[in-house]
């Protein structure tokens, strides 16, 4: 469907409402299911989709452990979610929009735009993590430490697990930045950006799930 243009020409973008399609030079290893095309982008995104399966199983295991542990004995003292978590949630939701903006800039092959919005997103990611740390401080201020109670243990564990995955996302954003500096060809750059955006949205949804678990399954 998309027109084929040589890589030196202007970015061939076809807006279809459902997303943007870009034709990449044939040297970028499109596969036979999708010949002549965006093989690398698809492959990276497929990788993220598959990776989500593994991450979900990790959190599913923690969730089931939490539910079982709660029903085991009478030592479970529910912990109130610190209010700063609402701020962090808001920050993360906004960052999903900025990541999406960065992705669009990448589709349009704008290095400056990509860098700008990637920086904003990474900044928001760090702000989110700072809020999570404040949340921990809030708990600690109430005398609720990691081992004081199983409810606290799971609070710290779930937030830390999610935070580490987010830190990984920020690290990949740094990698994108390096790739822009090194003037790597657009298709491979775009592949990393698309994969990062997908991963970031996934972490967003995962956080909503964890927040729900902490709020309503106390």
């Amino acid at each position: 469907m998309p027109a084929t243009l040589s890589p030196s020409e202007a970015p061939p973008v076809t807006s279809t409402g459902g997303g943007d399609f870009v034709t990449l030079p044939p040297s970028q290893e499109g596969n036979w299911h999708n010949p002549g095309g965006d093989g690398v982008v698809q492959r990276y995104k497929l990788g993220v989709w598959i990776g989500m399966g593994g991450i979900l199983m990790f959190f599913a295991a923690l969730t089931s452990a939490m539910i079982v542990r709660q029903g085991l004995s009478g030592d479970w003292v529910p912990v109130a979610v610190p209010p700063v978590l609402y701020v962090s949630t808001l920050v993360l939701l906004v960052s999903s929009f900025t990541v999406e903006r960065a992705r669009r800039e990448a589709v349009l092959r704008s290095s400056d735009g990509l860098r700008r919005w990637m920086n904003v997103s990474a900044g928001l990611g760090l702000a989110f993590l700072a809020c999570q740390l404040l949340g921990w401080q809030d708990l600690a201020g109430r005398g609720l430490y990691l081992a004081s109670n199983p409810a606290n243990s799971f609070y710290y564990l779930l937030t830390a697990g999610h935070g580490l995955h987010l830190l990984g996302g920020i690290a990949v954003m740094g990698y994108v930045w390096v790739r822009i500096r090194a003037s790597r060809p657009w298709p491979t750059r775009l592949a990393v950006v698309e994969a990062t955006a997908l991963y970031w949205h996934f972490l967003d949804v995962l956080w909503i799930y964890i927040l729900g678990l902490l709020m309503f399954w106390r």
């Binding site: 452990a65 990691l146 081992a147």
Partner: protein
Amino acid sequence: MTEVQLSKEVAEYTEVHRHPEPKSFIWKYIFSVDHKVIGIQYLLLAVVAVFVGMALSLLVRLRLVCPECSYPLLGQFFPVGAPEGVMTPEFYLAMLTMHGTVMVFMVLTTAPQGGFGNYFLPIQIGAADMAFPRLNMLSFWTTFVSFLLLMAAFVVEGGAPMSGWTGYPPLSAVPEATLPGIGQDLWLASIAVFCIASLLGALNFIVTTLDLRAKGLTMMRMPLTCWTWFVTAILGLLAFGVLLAAGVLLLMDRNVGTSFFVPAGLVVSDKVIDHSGGSPILWQHLFWFFGHPEVYIAILPGMGVTSHVLSTFARKTVFGYRAMVYAIAAIGGLGFVVWGHHMFVSGMSPYSAFVFSVLTMCIGVPSAIKTFNWIGTMWGGKIRFTSPMLYSIGFVSLFVSGGLSGIFLGQPTVDLYFHDTYFVVAHFHLIMGVAAIFGMFAGLTFWFPKMFGKMMNEPLSKIHFWITFVGVYAIFGPMHYLGMLPHPRRYAEITSVDYLGTGGAAELHMFITVAAVLTVLAQFIFLYNFVKSIFSGKECREENPWEATTLEWTIPSPPPHDNFAGKVPHVYRGAYDFALKGAKRDFAMQCNDDKAVYGEPAPQASGD
């Protein structure tokens, strides 16, 4: 870049981007991103690990037949575990634990998937490399770190952990219950790192299979080896995350005082342990949710190699290819819903036990489909009894023998009696340990000419096969009887039960130990054959010495850096086209179009 002679077998190629070959030693052999080098790295790691694991099993056997014997050399290495060379019961348990851990994780999980899968999946699907080569390198080196962490447990104060490869709490969770030391923590760290490595590897395998297949290579034309690597990767992806979570919880119980797995009021050495309200059973659920799929992670690739080799050397197509694929998928799927059968004696509700039991019995159906299809593949074939063929037939035999005892153990009422006896040891060693190892022997002897451009010494391989085949039955056969006595497993020594201690059981133990020593010695025949053949084996520069059908046999031996020299072959047919009517040869390679197979004019298109 060296010029590569393209195969005359291939009817048509697609041009792809060609990858440059690294020049320096470090990037070519150490931190290589080439799937073939990484595959060999995994295999070498597994070879080192398997000899460590075998040495540990010998120590276990020696302690069982002679608790008071002294081995001065051992005393020098382990002054605490074996003072003056006499193994303590704690030392026995530590060796047992490390034997299981090394074998399950570092051998059975790495070699079939990380080793052979890495080397041959991309070639068999016509790709230049894995989907994410650098991630692939990261997977291997993470696995290597995990191996080092595990080995470090031997040398730290307090020695290796003694809670079994299953790491059951409270023994694994309460430091006060064992010798003081960080052995168990290193073990847990090793397992956690291994989980991460395996998750990355699984992701890579899945994307590679889905995304990099050559033109014409539909899923239903893939060799069964690729199917098993693919399904194994899915199992790994879904199982290792759970073990990782469980491992983190256990590490926290040990080190920061949380109470996930340690119950309240636990008394160890007249001291109340400061934990509250956890449950050791929770660990068992999490562990076995991983642990059962892990069994299939170990055995599925062996099944793939067996199907592949049986078909090639019986010169017949795989009997019921589609049924084989569905059976692989069914075994993988059912593997996730039967973990409770490891816990029949944990006090679970009889109703749950019944459900787990029925689901467990269901696995017999796809397993039987596979077994009958293997026999059907050989039936009436012009069998060539090469060494890979012998190992594959051995695999079928061991799989059946080990599977039959599984039907006993899968029933809660019978399992109450057999649980934690040598019957279980016999069962899982035959089906998961030795059968999988025979799959590896089959794979190694089958693919050796492709990997190294040399042949292994056939007579030596056959001698090794017969000694090992008889040897493993001599070791694990009598264990069924020990289990029926019932002789409990994991005990360093039986002191006060006459018929187990000094009666017939002791003689059986001696028989098993002698058989074990001889079988382990026989493995040096294979090692010698393997190493010698790499350096001075008979040259084999032919592309296709076995007259096989899949794509790896269309490229030079050993394969060049990017496999197909910047081209991808087109695939025209299924993986096991043998004994075709009207064909010019008795086999058709996957890349042969009908013109190449039948000459002009083509009578009809062959099916998948």
